[in-house]
Every structure is written in C-alpha cells, then in structure tokens.
Subunit: 402 residues, 2 copies
C-alpha cells in the first residue's frame, strides 16, 4: 500500500506528453501550445488611425484650422503626402498617409461646409495614431511552448494570420466497466442488477479535462471478454476500468492485465475511498484500474487520472488549487487510512467555510453531488470546528456572482 | 452614456432562458437542469454487499466459525434463506440473501478446505451491507431545476437509468466583423489591410461559455451587405458584431439595425475600453454591437455578452468571481471614464498580488495575453502600491499546483 503522493509521482513519471498535432485555430482553445510562436510582422503593420477623425502634421499646423484635402476609408492607402496646413479625413484602422503624424477625433472638430476644419481644443503630436509595431514588433517571441491557449491567445494568433496551431494532442480515453451485475442505463431493470453509472461519471470527468472518452461497454466477469475489450482499448491513449480490482474471486482485471504483458506499477493506495486502485502500463499505455464503488471511482479519477490526462496534454500544472477553508463543524476520521472527505464549501465575505456532505459511504454518490471540495483528513484525527484546513476545489461555480 | 451596472441590468432584463431541450446524458455536462429530478427507485434497490466476503446472520452466529453453504456472484439472486450458523460467499454488489444481515470481508476470515469459515476478529451486526435506499430513497427530490450538471450529477442520473436530460438549450451565436479594411487570417496580406482577429477571439469567448459560435464573415462597409448578413444572423439566438459603432461615416451598424426594425436599447457605456458598445433587440433577439478595437471587443464581450449567454443557458450566477488582491505598484487612471485595466494576478502564500500588464492601448491584445484579471479603476484615481482591490479573474489556471 503506497501513499497518495507516491502514487502520483509514479503516474506522472510514467506518462509523457502526447505527440504534437496541428489543429484549426478555434480548436486550440484550452489546449497547450507545443512550439514557441514569434510575430511574423509588426502589429500594427503600419502607422494607422486609432479613431475616426482627421490626420495632419502637428508641427506644420498653423493656428487651429486646416483645409480638408480628401478622405481615407479603412483599407485604402494614400501614397501622396498630405500638404502642410492640410488635413485628410481618416477612418479607424486606415493607414496614416505620408505628411501626417497626428489624428484628431471627429468629436473634437467642426468641419465647415467649405471644407475648413476647426479644432475645438489643443492637440498633442502623435495622438490617436497607432504606431507601426506598437503592439508587437516583428520576430518578437510572443508565446512560449507550454502556453495555455485562451480566447486572447486565439485573437493574437488570428492577428498573425494563423489558421492552425501546433498543440499537444488530447488523449483518447477508453472506458470499461466490469461486472456481471451491471446493466446499461436505459436497459430493462432486473432484480439483483445494478446500473453502470461509473462509465458515465468517468466519461464526464474525462470530458472535463478536455480529453475524448470512448466507451468499451461492460465486461462480464470472464477473462476472455475482459481481455478482448482491453485489447480494443489499446487503440486509445489511456484505458480506465472500474470494478474488478479488489481481492474477490471475480476481481481478475489485474490478472488479465498481466496476461496481456502489462506491468502493474502499483495496486492499493493508502486512502479512503479508493484503496484498491491499480496503475499499470500495457504497450507503453497507462491503464488505471479504478475501484467499483461509485464514489471511489470518481475520487480515484480525480486524484490520479485527471493529473495524468492534463500532463499528457502538456499542462505543467495538473493538480487542482487548494484553498484554506474554516471547518464549521467537527469532521472525524476514525479509520486507519487517510480519508478524502467530501465537503461543501461556501464563500462568505471573501472567506471559505466548509462542512461535510454527510454520510461518506463510498457507494453514496450524493456525498459528491451535495459538495464541491475534498479535504484529506489523516487517520485517527479530527478537524475541529474553527480549524483552518486545505481543501481541493472540484468546481468553482459557487464563487460566481449573481 | 450609461454606467456598466445600468448596461448589465438592461441586458439581463432583456434576455430570457432558452427553450428546454432533452439532450443525451453526457451532452448535459456543464448545462443547467431545466426540471426537478426525483429518484425513480431506492438506491441501492436492495440490501447488497459492500465488499467481497461472506454474508451471515450476526445474531445467529455461534462462536467464531461458520459453515460456507454456497456462493453468490454479483448479479445473481438467492431467494432461499441461509440457515442459522451458516454463511454464503458473496461478491461486492450482490444482493444479501434472506437470513443474512452482515458481511465479513474476505481479508478478515480464513476458509478451511472443509468449508469452515473462521472470523479473525469480532464483527458488528449489519457491517459491510449497503441497505436498500441507504444512498437515496425512492421519489426523493434529488436535483432541483437550475442545478449545474457536473460529473457527479451525470453519475447520479446514470444510476437512475437516465439516458437523456432536460436542460436549457445552449445559444447559437452569430458573429459578424465589419470593415473594408479587414481580411481573414490566411488570406493574402495586402498593404493597408488588417486581419480580422475579432471574430476569432469572440468565437473563442463564445465557446468558453459553452455556447456555439457561427461565423457570418466580414461585412464590407455598405448597408446592403451588412443588412443581408445581419438577416442571416437572425437564424441564431444572439448576434454579435464588431466594429462600425463609433461616430464615423462608415459606422452604420446602428443605422442598419434600426432599418431592420431593431430597437437600440443603449449605445455608449461609461467605461474604457469599449465605450462605443450598442445593445439592441431585433425580432426579440439580442444583438451586441461591440467596438472594433481588439481589446475593446474582448472586454465588451467579457462584461456584457458573457453574462447574457450564461443567463440564457439558465445559470443564475452569471458574473465572474471577484477576489481581493494587493496591488504591487501604483496603477493610474488619468482619464475621464472608469478604466478596466488588464492585470496579472499571482498567488503567493494564499494571497493574491497584481500588477498592470503595461500599455493599456485598446488595440494592444498583449495587454490581455500578458494578464489574467480585470480591475475597475474609477476616473481620475490611482490605486497605490499596497492597496487591496477587487479583481475579476478571467482564468484561474495560475492557481493550479505543479
């Protein structure tokens, strides 16, 4: 039985970043950039107007009036210099023509019917002109390999004319449930049978990381079916099973893994729920054999599979944030293993407060649906009301404002 | 010119939740439940074993040994009672047979070759048995309308046999860029032209809310094209334009909206960047005419479009969380409008610290790519180094642990 930290270390040593692929610009949202990106040119590529207004030469301005000599819509170019003492009407984004260095916004002038422009107030040289390269100079290193691509990175990449982006590929994750007692949701509900909910909660957890789940279905409790389905799963990048890793006669997932030439890196972690969790490698691919109890399955995924998937996608930070929260009631761990207790965190006046979600039975999914955070309570200890402890936030929707 | 709060109020009054649709279970992840959900049956539906072990009657146990009378794999049912003083081998999830109330895990016993079971220690009545309805009783209200669907809710819904879920539909958002000066990324780069990056940053922001973007392309600066493309956009639930809402001759998006029978609810907001932002309704559909400067476009989306899209999806909390952060340098707003300054927040010892991302020019996308938060600095004021201020977090990846 190894510790949570030791298990994580073994897993993160084993998994490696997936190959670099080139994806369409918008598909790169949320993915990790796999190469440095340099600006291909100056942005802006030429001095241009930041406002709808009039361009002129500030130093050659005599008095407060100018003769308007033409019109420059955005997207058009004037190569003839604008003569001294004259101005040209210019739209936002249009290139400032030769002979001009300053723009006065349309709101700050009066144009008479004779085409004479009167400035309402003093102007400043260079104002309302976006200088060439002002935002980004040509060949400047813009994004380093490893950058998380957010909407603003998409915008910047688009402004460089990029239509595709090199990123680390998203893992495809094959999901297998095991057990004669299982039926799929929607199938006839027979006495003694249990609905396979684990494959769906796992698939949702996979989706949340940005990875792609594929469903292998249910393996009945026989070695041949299990082997055949695991073999199918090897087409994916990662395999996750649930159930069949305890010590009962029918818990032979580990056995089949070894028959297939896989190597069990560890089995059993010193934690509750989720002790009987095996991590293996088959054909160099990580396989997580999660326990079958619904809460143990989800907590096992959260603690070990999620960081692995994020690391495979190139994320350097793969563990959820911890926040300091004040317990509002005593929380006991009378057991002999560290207990990942499901809690509900609330935010009051900028401070986090938490309480247990109640009965922590590892089959009781409501211990997760009623909460939003996990705390780790060492064996034989009690968190007293008022204690400040670390909590791992599973979702942060409770922090949104109405 | 109206205030940010007033603009938000007008927008959130105007938008309504989209129709309820039924989606496949996994597709409901991240969406908002549109109906109350009650448990259709007890979970578990019968007393069953929480462990691989042996079931027996605790009260009828004589001494520490029991005769093993059979085997119950998961998914099978035994209707004959187990006689007093006997035990039956039972797998996790298998229904506890009549005559038994307790399970002892396989690790805690020795089974002799003669089928005699020796308990290694004392046992407790009812232990390792999941009682019928222990997790959820039949017809209990499980999730109320408005619940955000996370992986644990998916798991719970699957365990109820649900294959589809009623949720508020995701908005389809039509995106239009305006301006003669624009070319699409990947097109030949002509002098005087600017690449349309706004449609891509907006599309990425739309995707981040969970909504679906559709691209209407670029409207050249003429009324007919603009009208034709906006008309196409009316097939979507929301229309977003960028550019063409200032006061120049070519800024006629507002004019076309009115010609199409649309009602401009407001134009111009007392903020920087993003003052020239119009909100309208055409055929009852919200239209956001965002300014054309790349940063103003993204900040306008963040402040006004994002909350509207979330509200349309049924989220009751639609505004990003604010955190308290300490400025590490003075940050000035010398202007006459409240300034949404882009900042970089870091987390040290559980406390947030922020600094400006530098030049805040509204064409300068790097002011956003270098940061992760917005602060609102009132006009003519300075945030001093050491001041604690509210900051709106645009992404929280910086809080993840390595």
């Amino acid at each position: 039985m190894i510790s949570i930290d030791e298990a994580r270390r073994i897993i993160l040593e084993q998994v490696t970043g997936l190959p670099v692929v080139s994806v369409p610009l918008l598909d790169s949202l949320g993915m990790v950039l796999a190469e440095d990106v340099r600006s291909p040119w100056d942005i802006p590529s030429a001095d241009n107007s930041a406002m709808d207004g009039y361009a002129y030469s500030h130093d050659l301005l005599k008095g407060e009036s100018l003769l308007v000599c033409g019109f420059l819509p955005a997207g058009t170019i004037r190569t003839d210099p604008v003569p001294a003492g004259q101005a040209i009407k210019i739209m936002t984004g249009a290139q400032v023509p030769p002979g001009c260095d300053t723009v006065v916004p349309v709101e700050d002038v009066l144009e008479t019917s004779e085409g004479i422009l009167l400035l309402k107030g003093p102007s400043k040289s260079g104002s309302h002109v976006r200088k060439r390269g002002e935002d980004v100079g040509a060949d400047k290193l813009i994004f380093t390999k490893g950058t998380l691509i957010r909407p603003q990175e998409i915008g910047m990449l688009a402004s460089f004319g990029r239509t595709t982006v090199p990123v680390y590929r998203k893992p495809v994750v094959a999901i297998l449930a095991t057990g004669d007692e299982l039926v799929e949701p929607g199938e006839a509900r027979l006495s003694g049978k249990i609905i396979n909910s684990n494959s769906y909660s796992i698939a949702a957890q996979v989706l949340e990381t940005g990875s792609t789940p594929i469903m292998l279905g249910i393996a009945r409790d026989d070695r041949d079916t299990t082997r055949r389905l695991l073999q199918q799963g090897l087409q994916a990048d990662v395999i996750i099973t649930s159930g069949g890793v305890s010590v009962g006669d029918h818990d032979f997932v580990k056995e089949v893994i070894e028959q297939m030439g896989g190597e069990i890196k560890f089995w059993k972690i010193n934690m509750k729920p989720g002790k009987p969790l095996a991590f293996a490698a088959i054909d160099g691919k990580p396989l997580f054999a999660l326990p079958g109890n619904p809460v143990a399955t989800m907590v096992g995924f959260e603690m070990f599979v999620r960081p692995a998937l994020l690391a495979m996608m190139g994320h350097t930070r793969s563990i959820r944030p911890l926040v300091r929260a004040v317990a509002t009631e005593p929380i006991h761990n009378k057991g002999d293993r560290p207990h990942l207790i499901r809690t509900l965190i609330e935010l009051k006046d900028g401070k986090y407060y938490l309480k247990s979600t109640g009965d922590q039975g590892s089959a009781r999914l409501s211990s997760l649906t009623l909460g939003n955070a996990l705390i780790l309570v060492p064996s034989g200890t009690t968190v007293e009301a008022g204690d400040e402890i670390n909590a791992s936030l599973l979702d942060r929707s409770f922090e949104m404002q109405e």
